[in-house]
């Protein structure tokens, strides 16, 4: 066998398993998914016989559905708050664990641990904290008496339940984002700090003029990372609130903390409307695709500036 033929043969042989798995699991279902979103796809067992194109109906119905527009708005609010909370907490943690602490390596590991456990389990732990541990504080002291009242349960009220989702989200990701900041901060040359201290700069001044500009690159990475993570949040949503409590929106009772990923899932399985769920998933994809394009654009621009 000549070497050129052999090269082509190995090219396809080596690529085949990856390509087959990729095509079978991503590409085919992706195009099926886009296609199905324009149909009346309902029951998967006899889909082929009755599948009919209905144009944009799933999309228009979705957009007009108060539960969907509410979920969309809620997801944006949650994403923004979560993104800011995670990055703020992570930056504070990073500043602390890069200072001259005795056990800083140990602390880093501790802050990182929640990130290893899946969101589903984290959500159950915090459901226990919010539903049992915090109300039990009422027994400790009169000051906390109001925490024991059923109407004050954090997960029982829409606003505080969203806050609870943010708390768990921050707890889950702050340690991971912290590690990214730590890597960036430790990349700042020590001489810069020494020179600044000789010039009499305070800690805060050094953070503002040296650390923040030097870790600006890391900020772009972490902002997009947490944005996408928050926007896709599903596991914690399922185990912590399951979408509850319900609120009245547009005259209808709907799930008060149902983020988009959960709304898509519930639309397909709870309301048994696969095509509608699929149309929402397409909208979900478009939003994420736009975010990714913006990210690529921002990174390209940053590279040019450097």
């Amino acid at each position: 066998m000549n070497s050129k033929k052999e090269k082509t043969l190995i090219f396809w042989l080596f690529l085949a398993p990856a390509l087959i798995a990729f095509a079978a699991i991503i590409i085919v279902p992706f195009f099926m998914g886009v296609l199905y979103s324009f149909t009346n796809w309902t029951s998967s067992t006899r889909a082929d016989s009755e599948l009919r194109f209905i144009g944009l109906e799933n999309f228009t119905t979705s957009i007009l559905d108060p539960a969907f527009s509410y979920s969309f708005g809620l997801t944006i609010v949650y994403t923004v708050i979560n993104m800011l909370a995670i990055n703020f907490m992570a930056f504070v943690l990073a500043m602390l664990v890069t200072s001259n602490l005795k056990f800083r390596k140990f602390y880093r590991v501790g802050f990182f641990v929640p990130n290893l456990i899946g969101g589903l389990i984290l959500g159950y732990i915090w459901q226990f904290v919010f539903n049992s541990v915090i109300p039990s504080l009422a027994k400790v002291n009169e000051i906390f008496a109001s925490l024991g009242l059923p109407e004050n349960l954090m997960l029982g009220n829409r606003n505080t339940a969203v806050l609870a989702l943010v708390i768990v989200g921050t707890w889950q990701y702050a340690g991971y984002i912290m590690m990214i900041y730590v890597a960036a901060i430790e990349g700042v040359p020590m001489e810069l700090h020494e020179q600044a201290m000789i010039d009499g700069a305070t800690t805060l001044q050094r953070i503002k003029t040296i650390v923040i500009p030097m870790v600006a690159q890391a900020f772009t990475v972490t902002m997009f990372l947490t944005l996408v993570q928050s926007f896709k949040q599903f596991d914690v949503n399922v185990s912590l609130t399951s979408g509850g409590p319900s609120v009245i929106h547009g005259g209808l009772p709907i799930f008060g903390t149902e983020l988009l990923a959960l709304n898509i899932y519930n639309t397909a399985f709870l309301s048994n409307n696969l095509a509608m769920g699929q149309a929402r998933a397409v909208i979900f994809f478009l939003v994420l695709a736009i975010v990714s394009l913006v990210q690529v654009y921002v990174n390209k621009k940053k590279e040019l500036e450097l």
Partner: protein, 285 residues
Amino acid sequence: MINNKRSQTVAEIATIILFILFLSPFVLVVINSAKTANEVSRFPLAWPENWGNLFANIVTIWKSPNINYASSLFSSVLITVLSLVLLNLCAAQAAWVLVRTKTKLSSGIFFMFVAAMVIPFQIVMFPLLTWLRSITVLTGIRLLRTYAGMIICYMGFGISLSVFMFHGFIKSIPLELEEAATIDGCRRHQVFYKIIFPLLTPIHATVAVLNGIWIWNDYLLPLLVLGKGNAIQTIPLAVSNFVGAFVKQWDLIMTAILLAMIPIIICFLFAQKYIVKGMLAGSIK
């Protein structure tokens, strides 16, 4: 970062407080796993009266048909390990030929892998189930509720990022190394297995960590492919199944959670350095 004496003390105290706050939920899991249902509802913050309850609860969870711990642990390990082995091998092979073949087709395929990283699971998940069912009808190979189906799914969902990571690493390996091997009589595939593959160890670790943590903790994909309460269950599925059946039985739920966390915490203690490094590398994708 912070250097003068007073702010040093403030930083030390703030860190300790935050550290305690961060880890207290885990402490709550442990102490409440060692209580009876009554004790938990009386006061969750109290120290357990009798640590022997921990073993009693563990035995209950171990025997519970809802969680089926031994079998779930086995399934989770099997699915994760096989998916990782296949992903690492297939992605490394694919990335190598894509790097070393300079054609439009080759870069087109690579671009497709990278572009697919934008595709969220949600847009694929419903048609995937229909499609896997059609494959079974056409070929007779059962993919839903089987290990094979689960592992193929993880191959598909993990391959993009894995190929991308290997691609970046292999690009930095000098071509001269391969040319020398070819002159010495190495066949094309031998060049990969004998020369390149051994050089990939660090990136193998990174890719395995990135995929491993995600696959081990994943909930939605196993929920769809394996279903809750069927013969094959992963640990997250089993925990969710158990919580559904034993609503508000917090003593047992906490024990189930404790048992679910132990394997990954043990792994982390042994491979801490690689795990942190691997997850950091993944952030830059």
